[in-house]
Amino acid sequence: MMFLFYIAATVAVVSTVGVIVQSNIVHALIYLILSLLAVAVVFFSLGAPFVAVLEAIVYAGAIMVLFLFVIMMLNMGQHTTDQEKAWMAAKDWALPAGLAAILLVQLLYVLREVQVDIVPNEVGVLEVSALLFGPYVLAVELASILLLAGLVSAYHLAKK
């Protein structure tokens, strides 16, 4: 499991880097899907198969398809790739990347103290469902309202 975790983690990181540096948008999207799938593997390695599956279906599946539709609608061809390249000047990158790096270093700095090992105990569908229909039942209802809000907003905004 540990092995799986590290491999998946590496894949996730590498492919995410791919997302943010790719100039071809479709390639980037594929990297993103890859990254999400890798994360799904990580979930699995951590003993959370339910969310791993959801990650793969909803995230890497549904949401990314949404992206794909939009990219197709907007007809982003070769010229956008060139434009992307033009936009990715080093000077525009330096400051944001530096800031993010500092943030990362800070996170690593505080995380270094933690020395708790996880023995991946599978927490499966059952437990999650028990929670969802127990204490978190209101959350489910509220999530539906949230989706409703997203639905209405998106409908209104995207219509002709």
């Binding site: 997302v19 990580v42 907007l74 990347a97």
Partner: protein, 102 residues
């Protein structure tokens, strides 16, 4: 089964989070920005799942579900806006959206 140190999970989440942030900060194509946002949200979700694994709870996973929901909604609305933006400006460069300033 071999154990995984929790900090490694969190570090992974942190790295993804930071990478997503870099994407948001640097990309001018709004689709990329939106994708980077997804990375950030996903990283948060990852962190929850890692934490959840530490405690052996399902709470973190529930939280992940919520994040999934809101990410989906967010993307839907965001993509809607992108379409409108493209219709209006024929570009996906977010810097055209800078008419208000000062």
């Amino acid at each position: 089964m071999q154990s995984i140190p929790i900090e490694h999970g969190l570090i992974l989440a942190g790295i993804l989070f930071a990478l997503g942030l870099v994407g948001v900060l640097t990309r001018r194509n709004i689709v990329f920005v939106l994708m980077s946002l997804e990375v950030m949200l996903n990283a948060s979700g990852l962190a929850f799942v890692v934490a959840s694994a530490r405690w052996g709870h399902a709470d973190g996973q529930v939280m992940f579900l919520m994040i999934l929901t809101l990410a989906a909604a967010e993307v839907a609305v965001g993509l809607g806006l992108i379409i409108q933006m493209y219709r209006k400006f024929k570009t996906v460069d977010i810097d055209v959206l800078s008419e208000m300033k000062g």
